[in-house]
Symmetry: C2
Subunit: 362 residues, 2 copies
């Protein structure tokens, strides 16, 4: 049983393959080339690197590996430089293929290396975290962080293949699994009310990590994301912006509390709830989505509040966000379940007042 | 009097404007935006930064500047990181425009920053060296060096506008002016025998930097380059490779002797002569181009020999070149004046033996 999700980009269309157990059968899904460089982090490498290299013997004359430390701090200029230098030492050239084996951090860093090494080489994404499987491995956004802003340096660089094995989620720790569910819930909220309702009704199955259910859930997320990406590959028409729901708040939370204090998905969960409550506050939200979303996120064991009051810092961080366009901060806010809209942010006063409910002001 | 050279790329066509004195009249040639960040080096900044900022007051609500040290060493990861951080501090976003005001180093570094900051923002090239005017500002190649290999990290990122003022060459020092002439001569050798002959007959006018003549000469180079770039924007069909004539040898010379010891154009001059003599050696060259080219390069005051014997190091550096494809080193060699061809490099023995004429083996 496998699902193929086409990503019909005009220039270079590709397919996302979702199949439990596919990691042991990579050879038949991937192309051949002279050299593959598998980029991974130490934790994922422990679990899957040997298996992947073994399975790909037939496809590549030579397989090299680069392993980076676990965690968001690897999305740094320093780590990118280290990867570039290692690729140069390994004799990587334009006929080589980079395989990103790991979660969102590995995918973003390895993808950025692929986009920039020798002015761009082929990229294959094999995401191993739920977050990467439903979000970051699809759509071509790659990049690294600057100390002052997340994902501020990067590129649009589409993979040639995305191969997703939901059964690897069995080895994913609870916290990272749960964090990935924030992006899953996001798709329901922003563009698919039926999917949102399904998630609300299947919380137990979600937590049990039932492989069959997971495959369906991940495939639906990939379909929804592919649909948006095809309409707006390089974030120029505005359509793709809906995927940033919760992200302007979320990125600010990550920046202010330190990348790594909150996992990306956890910060996005709080950010989504901030967006929903702000939308209700300014009279834009027409239904009970804010309540439903808060319930779902908490049922999924995701945070929806912050431990202390750093609202002024959050506001400053938000102003540095890439979504600030010509000095104007824009936010994605929900109108009702399944529908969001990009709006110019309300006054700082309104933002601060809305965020008050989220912080501990003791 | 101005010349417009169209670069008819499928996705984003643009125009190169060549006009003496245009630097004082930039306002009418460039678009408007909220913010421009002019990236320059300290030397070019001394001459032209105030003028450019003054002239662009009307076009931009805000003009910021970033100045980097003079020289090839600025094409480093460290300097790119510094530029990224400064852009973040300046609040640069996707509605901003980066203006590269300077020679090849500034164009490549600023272009790489434009390609990667916020996943890509608009780039305007205002090249101020001959090398940049006839070569690096046109065609979209941007990037930085790794310690082990030149231009190894980069992207294809097309400018939205290229504005060339040949009169700024009056302030260019003799050595840099002469170095740029290597790329001028290259166009004649690789694709335009009539242009080559014209250069041979106009050495005195070239050295006098006659503005009218320079405008014509630069425009012809831009036309020739644009023609190749349009046929092969991302170096995939092989056509664009002809522009690398002399560059595999030249990049190795730069790497082995240290970036900065030789100017790019000087290294390319020696590299072109190596390519021509190798072609003669292996029986591929059908006419007296090798002799003519050697004469022209020397008439232009360019070097065609090396001071000592580092052939083994040069060979090692060549193997790391981006033009090594699937482990095979390729070279662009001339067949006759105006025609070159990409071939698989002959044996290391042949390369070493051919290079012997170029080195001082005392």
């Amino acid at each position: 049983m496998h699902t193929l999700v086409p990503v019909d980009l005009q220039t270079e269309p590709y397919t996302i393959r979702i199949e439990a157990g596919v990691l042991s059968e990579l050879s038949r899904c991937l192309p051949s080339a002279a050299q593959a460089v598998v980029i991974s982090d130490t934790q994922v490498a422990d679990h899957y690197l040997a298996l992947v290299c073994e399975c790909l013997q037939e496809n590549f004359e030579r397989i090299d590996t680069i392993t980076v430390p676990v965690g968001e701090s690897s999305k740094s200029v320093e780590q990118a430089e280290s990867v570039w230098n290692q690729l140069a030492e390994l004799g990587t050239d334009r006929a080589s293929v980079i395989i990103a084996l790991g979660g969102g951090v590995v995918g973003d860093l390895a993808g950025f290396a692929a986009a920039t090494f020798a002015r761009g080489i082929q990229l294959i994404q094999i995401p191993t975290s739920l977050l990467a499987q439903v979000d970051s491995s699809v759509g071509g956004k790659v990049g690294i962080n600057l100390p002052s802003a997340k994902n501020m340096v990067g590129a649009f660089w589409q993979p040639s293949h995305v191969v997703i094995d939901p059964s690897v989620l069995n080895t994913l720790d609870e916290r990272n699994y749960v964090a990935g569910l924030a992006e899953v819930a996001k798709y329901g909220v922003i563009m698919d009310a039926a999917f949102l309702e399904m998630l609300e009704n299947r919380v137990a199955r979600i937590h049990s990590r039932d492989p069959e259910f997971l495959s369906e859930m991940i495939a639906r997320c990939c379909q929804l994301k592919a649909q948006v990406v095809v309409e707006d590959e390089r974030e120029t028409t505005g359509r793709r912006a809906i995927l940033n729901y919760g992200h302007t708040f979320g990125h600010a939370i990550e920046a202010v509390y330190g990348y790594g204090e909150y996992l990306h998905g956890e910060a996005i969960s709080i950010g989504m709830q901030m967006a929903a409550e702000l939308s209700a506050e300014i009279g834009m939200l027409k239904d009970d989505l804010s309540l439903r979303q808060s319930q779902l996120l908490q049922d999924l064991h995701l945070p929806v509040r912050l431990p202390d009051d750093r609202r002024l810092e959050l506001l400053e961080a938000m102003k540095k966000d890439k979504k600030v366009n010509a000095g104007q901060l824009r936010l994605i806010l929900p109108e009702q379940a399944g529908f969001v809209k990009q709006v110019i942010a309300p006054s700082e006063q309104t933002l601060l007042s809305c965020m008050e409910a989220f912080v501990n002001t003791d």
